[in-house]
Amino acid sequence: MNKGLILFLFLSFSVFVFSKEAYAYLDAGTGSYVIQVVIAFIFGGLLSVKIFWNRIKGFLTNLFPRKD
């Protein structure tokens, strides 16, 4: 299984299981970097769908223009 997917599932699991801890003093830089890489493929995919959908909408709007 893809390493990024394993990490995503592991972190997701821990969000629901261990939800009460707070460690504000830890260095947060690395984790912020890694999470972007992990979630990037999801949001990149969602943006592609959004752009594609907007193009279809634009195409249909041009094909059937509203009559005022």
Binding site: S14, V15, S19, A22, T30, G31, Q36, L47
Partner: protein, 461 residues
Amino acid sequence: MEKLEKNNKILSSFRDPSGFLFIRDDLLYRQINLKYKEDYDHLMSSGLYSALVKEGLLIPHEEIIPTEGMDDIAYKIIKPENISFISYPYEWSFSQLKDAALTTLKIQKKAIEFGMSLKDASAYNIQFKKGRPVLIDTLSFEKYKEGEPWVAYKQFCQHFLAPLALMSHKNICLNRLFQLYIDGVPLDLASSLLPFSTRFSLSLFPHIHLHAKSQKHFANKSVNMTRRKISRLAFLGIIDSLESAIKKMRWKPMGTEWADYYNITNYSSTAFQQKKEIVANFLDKIGPTQVWDLGANDGFFSRIASQKGIPTISFDIDPSAVEKNYLECVANGEDSILPLLLDLTNPSPSIGWENSERDSWLKRGPVDAVLALALVHHLAISNNVPLRKIAAFFSRICFSLIIEFVPKTDSQVQKLLSTREDIFPNYTQPAFEREFGKYFTLELSEKVSGSDRVIYLMRKR
């Protein structure tokens, strides 16, 4: 103005190796270091600077030639347009923080179009100019390198997403966490405070909860970053997701303590109109360059000043009133009024490194004129501050004062006294005039008809 070092550097800009702010002859300048040359030149030559300034998203500046007094590391000196009052995120209402967040993302999207990216996403880099949010840090941009993640992602989540989520899902007063955490709300704290239901949110789950877990998981681990790349589309996908998350944030002001204040005061409509005329007349006599309206509620009386074109800051303790005021400013396109949150009994302190990064509210004064209408009784009776201290306080923050004295016979004061013992024998009009007379010349006074209230025009001695 913020505290200066010996060489006039502003203490809030010491972290950035790209340059720093300094003051010369009371004017604000920014030195750009040679280290930032390439990025600055790209900002200016790519068309990004002009595009952002044209849309009112970035503070305009002029380059100073000759750049006298430049040190060895300096590349250029620029003089940014002046912002008349620096405010901080813990003084903003919900929609002000939301608009600042959306402005940051709009700038980031525009920067990407021109091959740049924001290297900072600090809420402190946004200020309100003519009522609208604008980026004031010209050195926040760097060349975008495809494959690299957004370096300011964590800061954006801490400065905007987490506080907005807490204000929207938990309690509006949680923007005050900014005062404790100068670099925004730590995500593990936000994650533990947010309701469990937010773990099912498509935006808050990854950007706050998962993000916090990842920070904790990798806190003591070293990761080989070179192999982990993010495509341009995925990069834009993250920005787009943050933008949708912020746009979805909602908070509806409820009828809190002051929200319906003007509907429940004991003023008749004639007296209210008369009070308006007195304030307008006194303002004309002063002709101030700037006004602070303290205890402004939704800004009704602030607008008497702002509609005369006087830059006016409308301070109030109630997040609902400030929110209502700001939304009205946006709806009407008002550019002379800035509503801000302020608890006068505990105003914003100086915070950050050496207590000097963010100025206290008092340090950002004094102002030309203060409006203090229907306020003194709250300070004297609700907060037990003796009149002599109230008078001394006002003498520190302004040169002219329009102030209303609300006597004990007034129904609003009676209401305050109904639940406490009257330990205020000195709260009288003669005592008020005597104490304020020590610091101010009592130039004019007018009684508000149909009430026992008196409005004074005072000038500092």
